[in-house]
Amino acid sequence: MSAPAGLLLVDKPGGLTSHDVVLRARRGLRGARGTRVGHAGTLDPAATGLLILLLGRATKLAETLMDERKEYEAAIALGRTTDTGDATGRTLREHAGPIPDAAAVARALEEFRGEFEQVPPMVSALKVGGKRLYDLARIGRSVDRAPRRVRVDEIEVRAYDPPLLSLRVVCGRGMYLRALAADLGEALGVGGTLASLRRTRVGPFGIGRAIPLADLEAALRSGAWRERLIAPHDALAHIPGVVVSDGHARRLLQGRATGWDDVVSFPEALVPGSTIRVLDTEGRLLAIARALAPPDAGVEAGFGAGTAVLPCGRASAPFRLERVLVEPAEVGGG
């Protein structure tokens, strides 16, 4: 049997770090000892919800999956500020006055839609000057953090029982919900702390497909995990795919230049700069790549599947490889 590769979806319990979950999965893997295990996006210890475990070669999909949109159920306790931004931290300030009403909260939330700058929390895994922020925080040091551009696609109030505000948030990569809680509290003038966090979606994967850690550990012991494994190909089925000719696949993976002549089919609307899958003619996922900007758009070209207007020039490279997922030797052709 070939080395396992794919995704396992687990509903991370609270109290464990994402890395703890990875360690347990690695230890538990029966019949596939030594398989690499990773995850596609950290959840704080106090958070629960969807954690994507990556096995074997699928660990290379981490970056791609981290770019996916995520959905969270977040509860924010208004009126309280902690050093970590969540309920596990030390209370810095407790607001004594009245807590804003629903209308004021709705107005303040408007400022947290679309793209904006966010200063990451001091207690986070980011590095400043080569040091992890949480290591600095642990020795009581606070350093200036550069604001980062983040994106909120959707933010809606699920319930508001003052001071507890329950939100559904759909956001892009790098978003810290703890910082959102603190910033929203600041905007309302009372402070805020993330009271609970649950991740309910990452890209195409909803929490409904995830299983509790205890069930996953049982599946790892019994071997039933293999049936739950999501193949890398299926995991990224929502990402546009470009199929390269059999004759070219190996050369491509060896890093040789690819022209449009080597492409057998491609999606009609290929957005330059977007992530694409590179497939062989059997539909096997070979690599993740980034579509390139067209030097001259609208060149007509004929392919096996018919004629289409190419989004970029025939002479230029259609994409740039980012991650190769199979060994060149495993691919036919020469």
Partner: protein, 315 residues
């Protein structure tokens, strides 16, 4: 609220708190608010695990404190608060002998997929109260669940503890009891036949049976009360009232009875269920020279009760 009995349950995803919750006072309410937040935040249902009988009744029999709330009263208050699941656990010698970690791992965690625990600031559990929040946190790290500790709740300078509430009720300080409970002290019971004395005096009374001898009541006397319940014909009602809590020497050591004159019209309450909330103590129980002197005093009590209750409504 769903009520379940025993450890043999498959409750699905739950956020858990454990305790006797006697009184369901302000401190308990704050703890429950955190439990609901945890449950809602992590896609779970809220579950309260209570023990029956009170652990102290098993460990140190005869030394258990009087009850601010009987089991049915407590369950009604927990349901009103919004608890999803109430699990009644039998506290017996074998459970009292279970080590703290075993209790959590072998007994509680198998109840369902436990996302976390919300506990009070002085939480202890297991054999000889050997487990505390630190142990629970360590187990959480091992088994994957959250632990939230709720700080000591204070109303002004007074910490809310069941013992303080009991003291306030026992000395008849109902305003202090109400501020610690977040509601008036109450008693619920079945309406039973009385001696008919009230009717003879022109003040018909409903007699509420206090079936549980451990139930804590304020001192004997006359009280302004609010009552609620279901009349004999099944219609729900809410009204003010005057209650006499007294000794009924003719009945010897039988169940205590609370006589309530319900204000605002006649209702047939016999055999219905009634909840009596103590608002204010009007006077102590007294002997009267004649039935007419007693009737005159009751008339005065009714007028004072109306004034007390009207004040409460404006506030």
């Amino acid at each position: 609220m769903e009520i379940l009995q025993g450890f043999d349950q498959r409750l699905g995803r739950i956020a858990v708190t454990l305790g006797s919750f006697d009184g369901v006072h302000v401190g308990h309410q704050r703890l429950l608010a955190r439990l609901f937040a945890m449950a809602r935040g992590h896609g779970a249902r809220s579950a309260v695990l209570t023990f029956d009988p009170h652990p102290r009744a098993v460990i140190t029999p005869g030394k258990e404190p009087p009850l601010l709330t009987t089991a049915p009263e407590r369950e009604a208050l927990l349901a009103d608060a919004g608890v999803d699941l109430l699990v009644r656990l039998r506290f017996d010698a074998s459970l009292a002998d279970t080590e703290a970690a075993d209790f959590i791992v072998m007994k509680v965690l198998p109840l369902g997929e436990v996302v976390g625990f919300v506990v009070g600031y002085d939480f202890h559990f297991g054999k000889r109260r050997g487990g505390n929040t630190a142990l629970l946190r360590a187990l959480g790290k091992e088994h994957g669940f959250l632990v939230e500790e709720v700080g000591e709740q204070a109303i002004g300078p007074v910490a809310v503890k069941s013992t303080r509430v009991r003291d306030a009720v026992a000395r008849g300080d109902l305003a202090a009891a109400a501020s610690l409970l977040g509601r008036p002290h109450l008693v619920s019971g079945r309406v039973v036949p009385g001696a008919g004395r009230g009717r003879e005096l022109g003040f018909r009374t409903a007699n509420v049976e206090i079936a549980n001898p451990a139930k804590l009541l304020p001192p004997e006397g006359v009280y302004a009360v609010r009552v609620g319940g279901v009349a004999r014909d099944g219609t729900p009602f809410e009204a003010g009232g005057v209650a006499n809590l007294g000794v009924r020497p003719t009945f010897g050591g039988g169940p205590r009875v609370l006589e309530v004159h319900v204000l605002g019209g006649e209702r047939d309450l016999y055999e219905g269920e009634m909840t009596v909330r103590f608002i204010e103590r009007l006077r102590e129980e007294r002997r009267f020279e004649s039935p007419s002197a007693l009737a005159a005093q009751i008339g005065e009590d009714v007028a004072r009760a109306r004034a007390v209750l009207a004040r409460g409504e404006r506030a």
